[in-house]
Symmetry: C2
Subunit: 205 residues, 2 copies
DNA sequence: TTATATGGCTAAAACATATTAGCCGTGGAG
DNA sequence: CTCCACGGCTAATATGTTTTAGCCATATAA
């Protein structure tokens, strides 16, 4: 039925493997199960399909970051929580981040597409950095800043701490994109990392 | 003169920005300063140019990793060195790694091309992981294993330590690829990271 | 000097790919 | 029932791109 959506999905699936230019409208159509010219009943050009994917994913992504950043911005309640943050809490936080980043097919494919297209323009480079590096980094910087202020984390530069903490997440996410079959293994590594980080930098008051 | 080499260089320059499929032989030729058909006096197809870039860079890269890994494999001499490793030594090691990875134009462009093409085949995915993640990671894992054995590093899982240590390097390398103008800033961050790592995990015997 | 390999060029062929034109069956609204 | 919008199809067009064919100038070797 909803061909218009299926086109977006299949196009993204293809773009995220080979990149925009390597994929023909023919292939998109055939993945959907229709003929190329029929695509033009739904989108006015190939570029238009690309743009639609962009908007669709932007919407989904924004919805997600809204939910996650509320944890940090809602300072009142979190100040209380910080004191009792455990290693398990951190592990849990990372798990839920990964859960979303890896198991939402749309998000996953879009990230791969962005990886492929990131050097095409300054705009795309910036979007990539903002979305996949800075956003997660700022989140942890703020989190650690508060934890330090609350005396539950060693008093080191929160920006550096955050980088030490989240760079492995980013790198392993990349590894998962390349080798999804090893996800289980990577997740264990990541958990060990989080626990080592906690053990090293956390302090009880 | 050496048109054959210049074709490789200009093709790589273009591929590393827009990806293989987005670049036409026309553009490659014009970058070199000749007409498209003349390319075929040197390479038998566009794909052939791509492959040649691959071989050329593989050669350069292997040459480099040979030099760097000798530091670790030469166990005799290094055991002595490990004891007196300072934060400055680590900073220096990272600097020279970055120096090579960022300031060798060929290496830099090739890495960007790999970033773009990494999802095309299992082969490319594996090459990417091996070259840009595992190799550097194994290097540090071995380094830290020895340092732990020598008692100059906290006795934690060297694999996790290595990841904590080198993931920020990889992430910041990616940032440099996207935003070369911020290199200076990123290098400072990286230095802080190395020093914090040293301060945290190094111990004098 | 002559022959030949090299590496450039133009013109054209071969191929691919995005897009348009226009036809047709179906299903819901009036 | 009729009409029409929807969304599929085939055929064709427009455009672009890779590659081949074949010509020509130059430099080098015999």
């Amino acid at each position: 039925m909803d061909t218009k959506q299926r086109i977006l999905l299949e196009a993204l699936r293809l773009f995220s493997k080979r990149g925009y230019d390597a994929v023909g409208v023919e292939q998109i159509a055939s993945a959907v199960g229709i003929k190329a010219p029929s695509l033009y009943k739904h989108y006015k050009s190939k570029q238009d399909i690309f743009d639609a994917i962009f908007e669709e994913t932007a919407r989904r992504y924004d919805a997600f970051t809204d939910t996650i950043s509320v944890h940090v911005t809602n300072s009142e309640q979190d100040v209380i929580e910080f004191e009792k943050i455990t290693a398990d809490d951190l592990v849990q936080k990372v798990r839920s981040l990964i859960e979303y980043s890896l198991h939402d097919e749309y998000v996953c494919m879009f990230r791969r597409m962005m990886t492929i297209e990131q050097f095409r323009s300054r705009e795309l480079s910036e979007l990539y950095s903002r979305r996949y590096v800075n956003q997660i980094h700022d989140y942890h910087s703020r989190l650690f800043t508060k934890m330090i202020a609350d005396g539950v984390l060693e008093d080191e530069d929160p920006v550096i701490l955050a980088m030490m903490y989240d760079a492995p997440i980013l790198v392993l996410l990349g590894e998962c994109d390349r080798h999804p079959e090893k996800e289980e293994e990577y997740m264990k590594t990541l958990e060990s990392h989080v626990r080592l980080f906690y053990k090293t930098f956390h302090r009880d008051r």
